[in-house]
């Protein structure tokens, strides 16, 4: 039986000006699985996430979400696809001028126009409670610590109950304990909601806790794809270095 991929890259090539960032990259993530993407800085990991949600278009190849190729879709159609995708940005990307609660209410108002204000408030409260921020609903993003911002960003990404969650560097700029708390949240999202996760990270501890599969990008190519244990004993030095916990 062929596994149903929640997201699949088919021969993706992407370049910026003369620089080829991704060259003929193919892989898939099965529903309910967590894939961590690793690689050196500037290798195209975040570009991979942005291709998955249609923020960038590939030069060639197909990006399939639930077996549907999203590369030729116009913005209106992309909106339908994005309804089922959450995205946690590296900087959390909370809207500065809105409170945490309003940040969460925004996608609900946009996608669920049938929801009443009280239903929206209830959904916001529930999601904030899930990430431990129920008391910070009325705070502005500038009043939050780095870890709280990440959690608020995660809450906004989860508020629509997405089937696929894309996460860009969840532990960047955070101490080990706070990063561990974010990993816990991601793990809960995966197990309790059966959400498919694609996480870009350098943090091997996060990979060990959350990932089912690890993809390593190097020089534009998919250098390796497998479990962390498999990759730790890879013959490719870059793969071994990136996936080795002692290297961290």
């Amino acid at each position: 039986m062929i596994a149903q991929f929640a997201v699949e890259f088919k021969h993706i090539t992407k370049s910026f000006s003369d620089r080829k960032v991704l060259i003929d990259v193919s892989f898939g993530v099965a529903e309910g699985e967590a894939l961590c993407i690793m690689g050196r800085s500037g290798i195209g990991k975040s570009v991979t996430l942005k291709l998955m949600i249609g923020l960038l278009k590939p030069d060639s190849g197909q990006v399939c979400i639930d077996s549907e190729d999203i590369t030729p879709l116009p913005e209106k159609e992309l909106s339908r696809v994005r309804r089922n995708i959450g995205f946690l940005f590296q900087s959390a990307a909370l809207f500065d001028s809105f409170t945490v609660g309003d940040n969460l209410a925004m996608p609900l108002k946009r996608f669920d126009k049938s929801k009443s204000p009280s239903e929206i408030e209830q959904a916001v409260n529930e999601t904030l409670r899930a990430v431990g921020l129920e008391k910070d609903k009325d705070k502005l993003p500038v009043e939050l610590s780095g870890g709280m911002r990440k959690r608020a960003g995660l809450a906004r990404a989860l508020v629509l109950n997405p089937k696929l969650l894309l996460v860009d560097e969840p532990s960047s700029g955070l101490d080990r304990i706070t990063a561990g708390e974010i990993d816990d949240l991601l793990l809960r999202v995966k197990t309790e909601r059966n959400t498919t996760l694609v996480i870009v990270t350098h943090d091997v501890r996060c990979v060990r806790r959350v990932a089912d599969q690890v993809a390593v990008l190097d020089k534009g190519h998919l250098a390796s794809l497998g479990t962390l244990d498999e990759l730790e004993s890879s013959e490719n030095l870059v793969v071994r270095e990136l996936t080795s916990e002692s290297a961290k």
Binding site: K50, I53, L55, E75, L78, S79, R82, R83, I85, F87, F89, Q90, S91, A93, L94, F95, D96, M106, P107, R110, F111
Partner: protein, 256 residues
């Protein structure tokens, strides 16, 4: 050669950006809530600056011109000269330049910061049309508030002129107003005030363009703010030359 091609490329990109925004104004959905927020941020919050500047400029203008008029025996024309200066040129131009400095820099920096911190990407991910939400609302708000702010600047300038005149000659308010408006027609008021819609379009388009298209981190934020003010101000002054010529063409009485 590179500078010249770069300049024309910038003008071309700006024109496309502005026309795209204008076209979007006529196509739903409309982001009314964000539009009202921009009216408040660009218009209402600029009002104290515009009023204070108009008042001060009115006082200074009268101080400068009155002595010259008196030496020609035309001191009584001071209110008239004041109103002609403000309604025809000073009010529109100074309002445009002040809003370019205050709101233009703010728009450029705010949008560039949103780009750098991935907030614009986040909007796209949430299926908002970021261009419509961030740029169209701001450009339209600039077009609408500029004429209104200009009216405030005009009357603040007249009020400043009156204060100055009263301190020197004890002229009554009724006399000052009657004298100021004695030879002022609608053609001295409507076309110059409406020309500031063009200034508003320039400020909104230039500032949104530099902010929305930046991709250079914190340096990009600084550059977006600076470029917004510099290019907006320059284009306002240059377009004013053309607009004044156009007003003289359509309202020849103004040129007399």
């Amino acid at each position: 050669m590179k500078i010249i091609t770069g300049f024309f490329s910038l003008i071309g990109n700006l024109s496309c950006f502005g026309l795209r925004a204008l076209a979007a104004v006529f196509v739903p959905p409309y982001e009314w809530q964000y539009f009202v927020l921009q009216i408040e941020a660009i218009g209402w919050q600029s009002l104290p600056l515009i009023s204070a500047a108009g008042l001060a400029l009115g006082v200074v203008m009268t101080l400068h011109t009155r002595s010259s008029l008196v030496s020609f025996g035309a001191g009584a024309w001071a209110p008239n000269l004041q109103s002609q200066s403000f309604f025809n040129e000073l009010g529109p131009l100074v309002s445009g330049l002040l809003v370019a400095g205050r709101a233009g820099a703010g728009i450029g920096a705010e949008l560039a910061n949103m780009r750098v911190t991935e907030q614009i990407d986040a909007l796209e991910v949430l299926s908002f049309d970021s261009f419509r939400l961030l740029c169209v609302t701001r450009i339209l708000a600039c077009i609408i508030v500029l004429p209104l702010l200009t009216v405030f600047m005009d009357f603040a300038g007249l009020l400043g002129g009156f204060f100055s005149e009263y301190m020197i000659s004890r002229m009554s308010f009724q006399h000052y107003v009657a004298s100021a408006f004695s030879s002022l027609g609608w053609a001295n008021f409507i076309p110059p005030t409406l020309k500031t819609c063009v200034f508003g379009f320039i400020i909104g388009t230039v500032s949104c363009y530099f902010g929305y298209t930046t991709n250079e981190g914190s340096d990009g934020v600084r550059r977006a703010a600076t470029n917004s003010v510099v290019l907006s101000s320059l284009l306002i002054i240059l377009s004013d030359v053309v607009l004044v010529k156009l007003i003289f063409f359509f309202f020849p009485g103004d040129a007399m």
